[in-house]
């Protein structure tokens, strides 16, 4: 029964895919760039690789050539995927503009079949072009330059190309299904192009650095993001809403009114609001806060593990730690920057808002990365102290714990709220429009931030400036 349902599902989805792919291959505007990017461009890259390798060898710098050839392989594989963006961006909204979507929506095909069908149709031709281009380049570089790639590296490049295409296509299909014109979709595509450009730079850096194993982590990260984007797209795709949106109007009045309605809830006083609405939102963030605990512990562990890679000079630590300089500086309250309470509070708030902003655009993922950074640093310092025979607990107890009593719960609650906000973009919101669901998530986040996180961080800043240095001084001078 389940197998039959699965077969029916794929039959419907593939029906849409085959039709679209067939039509794409009849459009010379798609065929021409694919041919150029799969046949001409790899040959050009072969030529470039050959010339550059010869050039750098003249100056006895073969490593540049060695690193350049795999980098060009990645570039050759990536370029044809730029077409996927064009195809995917107009998958829904393009059909809507050409007035061909309505008969398709009237068929018994389900929303999921339509969505997957379009997704696969946008993915298939550019990905095939990418694979073909990579093969052409590999053959050329093998015969012309004499460079032979490790089989595992070739697999890695193919996996990376597939993941990059998957992220770009899944993101573009989300945009296409939520906008009202191809023009608007193209404008919104910068939300995909800019992060992908940054990612390419990061991948390039890793490849020139020779850290090829890190590319697996990049591929894994891309897979997670693609999964979240597909989940989000499916959750928010409803055929009934596709024809409803006729104009991209920004109704600020409606946005403000709706946000305030969600933010205020049913409360009639400030006290009532805190007791009912803030605590309710806080309770909702409890489960994701538990997940945040795991992420932060992981951050600490990763930081600690890096102490062996990036070793601090032990003589310097011991000299500094034992010389009394720490104590004398603590006495002058100069170990910690001489900020005011307000500045410390502002600094922490800024970090939390940065994490929220990152989380808003990445289903919470980048928000978590920002939050785990200080924990990675703490883990790193503690492990560094252990390496030189100093008890890390003194450091923890003296410099971290006092204000952490308030700061860590604030971070955990904020992390929970950020994850919840991110997750809400990937979960269905039946009975609400996408805009309403987003505003509700934002209002939930704002309640937690204003009602819980900001007061806790203020308390933490007070402790950090007024108690921590004195406690550290007392502990260190014993």
């Amino acid at each position: 029964m389940a197998v039959e349902r699965l077969q029916n599902f794929f039959a419907g989805a593939l029906l849409v895919t085959v039709r679209e792919v067939r039509e794409q291959f009849r459009d010379w505007r798609i065929i021409f760039p694919i041919v150029v990017l799969t046949l001409f461009f790899p040959v050009l890259m072969n030529y470039t690789a050959n010339r550059l390798v010869n050039f750098v060898q003249q100056y006895d710098a073969p490593i540049i050539g060695e690193r350049l050839i795999p980098f060009l392989l990645m570039v050759v594989g990536f370029f044809p995927m730029s077409i996927s963006l064009v195809i995917a961006l107009e998958s829904f909204v393009g059909e809507k503009e050409r007035l061909t979507i309505e008969p398709l929506l009237c068929t018994p095909l389900s929303d999921t079949q339509l969505y997957f069908g379009k997704l696969l149709a946008s993915l298939t031709p550019p990905l095939l072009a990418s694979y073909l281009g990579t093969f052409v380049y590999l053959i050329g570089v093998t015969y012309k330059v004499g460079w032979r790639a490790e089989p595992l590296f070739i697999v890695q490049i193919f996996v990376l190309a597939t993941m990059q295409a998957l992220v770009m296509v899944s993101g573009s299909v989300v945009i296409s299904s939520q906008t009202t014109s191809v023009r608007a979709a193209n404008l919104l595509a910068s939300f995909i192009i800019i992060p992908m450009a940054l990612l390419l730079q990061a991948i390039s850096a890793l490849m020139f650095w020779g850290r090829y194993s890190a590319l697996w982590w990049v591929a894994l990260g891309l897979l997670i993001i693609a999964g979240l984007l597909i989940r989000s797209g499916l959750a928010q795709f409803r055929r009934e809403e596709l024809l409803e949106r006729e104009m991209d109007t920004l109704n600020l009045h409606w946005i403000g009114r709706t946000f305030w309605r969600f933010f205020k809830g049913e409360a009639r006083s400030l006290r009532g609001w805190w007791r009912s609405e803030v605590l309710r939102s806080g309770r909702k963030a409890l489960l994701p806060s538990g997940l945040t605990v795991l992420v932060l512990l992981l951050g600490g562990y990763v930081g600690a593990s890096q102490a062996k890679v990036f070793v601090l000079p032990s003589e310097y630590i011991q000299e500094y730690w034992n010389s009394g300089e720490v104590i004398s500086r603590l006495g002058q309250l100069q170990l910690l920057p001489s900020y005011s309470v307000g500045l410390v509070w502002f600094q922490n708030l800024r970090a939390i808002f940065l994490a929220s902003l990152g989380g808003f655009f990445s289903f919470g993922v980048f928000g978590m990365l920002v939050l785990l950074l200080p924990f990675a640093l703490i883990g790193y310092f503690m492990a560094s102290l252990v390496q030189v025979g100093i008890s890390p607990w003194v450091f923890l107890g003296a410099f971290i714990l006092p204000h952490a009593i308030l700061e860590v719960p604030a971070i955990l609650i904020a992390g929970g709220a950020i994850l919840r906000m991110g997750a809400s973009f990937a979960t269905p919101a039946r009975g609400q429009t996408v805009g309403e669901a987003w505003l509700r998530a934002l209002a939930d986040w704002a309640r937690v931030m204003i009602g819980l996180v900001m007061p806790l961080l203020l308390g933490a800043a007070l402790v950090e400036m007024l108690i921590t240095p004195r406690l550290a001084f007392w502990l260190m001078s014993r």
């Binding site: 459009d27 979507i101 009237c106 068929t107 018994p108």
Partner: protein, 309 residues
């Protein structure tokens, strides 16, 4: 069968369809008439489940549009406002794609596609790309798509627009044949004579509301509270001062004719004929003047405008 109960649809603050109640039985054709933007297309989209009602309910072929949308879509054949054709596909490929989407078996697909292409005179152009079709051919192909899976309910938006008279006749005959096969059909049209010819019921819609509904005859009668008659005389009236009987109201008078109206033609007409004959006016013909559907339509729409709705 199609049934709606207070069917309503709002786009933000604008009510495109408001409180529509319809009941179209199997074997009946309902013509939806109304100016552009009246809510006809929105109503059709609600019935095909590609828009979700803001309020109210609807049942199509016995299925609830809110809770059984997939079953509704399987039971409905739709001719959309835009033809919705893929220009780079041939007619054959296009119909085959939709036949597969409607889950027809390979044998059924071939049979239906052959039948429909032959019926609409497109058999010879079956391998031609749709982009090369004329407007009329595209309309026929879109109609063929709507009929592929032999749906019990048909929703046709402007089925004969852009067609030459012969093709339009072909489509009208097809609709009448489908009606006799116990299908439920809703036709949105601006062509009033077409509506009068094929529809069992007419609903005039404006500003999202049905303002008049009934059979063509009922609508005409509803508009015309009193029966009108035109009397033609054998000779000119030459300024003759006419005196009509009680209950007859003179509306217009010409050189050799007059137009009057009465609420009781059964009793008034015989006495009026007698009176006119006694006045020495030889009657040539007397015929009832039934108002046209166009008059009913304009009266209904203008009445709406006057009411400021």
């Amino acid at each position: 069968m199609i049934e709606t109960e207070n069917l309503s649809k709002a786009f933000n603050d604008f009510w495109a369809v408001s409180g529509i109640n319809l009941r179209v039985e199997a074997g009946q054709v309902l013509a939806l008439l109304g100016p552009n933007g009246a809510g006809k297309t929105t109503t059709v989209r609600l019935l095909t489940t590609i828009l979700r009602p803001t309020y109210g309910r609807a049942w199509v072929a016995g299925y609830d549009v809110l809770n059984q949308p997939e079953k509704v879509r399987s039971s409905v054949g739709v001719l959309t406002e835009g033809h919705g054709l893929y220009p780079r596909m041939s007619a054959d490929e296009y119909l085959d794609f939709f036949a597969r989407a409607y889950r027809l078996s390979a044998h059924e697909r071939k049979q239906r596609i052959d039948e429909l292409l032959a019926f609409f005179g497109l058999a010879e152009a079956r391998r031609k790309q749709v982009g090369q079709f004329s407007k009329g051919m595209r309309q026929k192909l879109a109609l063929a798509r709507a009929l592929l899976h032999k749906p019990p309910v048909l929703l046709l938006d402007e089925p004969t627009s852009a067609m030459d008279p012969a093709s339009a006749r072909l489509v009208r005959d097809a609709i009448l044949e489908l009606r006799s096969n116990e299908r439920t059909i809703i036709v949105c049209t601006h062509n009033l004579s077409e509506a009068e010819e094929i529809a069992d019921q007419i609903a005039i819609i404006n500003h999202g509301k049905i303002i008049l509904q009934g059979s063509p005859q009922q609508l005409k009668v509803a508009l015309q509270e009193k029966a009108r008659f035109r009397v033609r005389f054998a000779s000119a009236l030459n300024g003759h001062r006419l005196s009509l009987v009680k209950g007859a109201e003179l509306l217009q008078q010409g050189e050799n004719w007059l137009l009057y109206q009465t609420a009781q033609p059964e009793s008034v007409n015989p006495s009026l004929i007698q009176a006119l004959t006694q006045q020495g006016l030889p009657i040539l013909t007397i015929e009832e003047q039934v108002c046209s559907l166009e008059e009913v339509y304009l009266h209904a729409i203008e009445g709406e405008l006057k009411d400021g709705r």
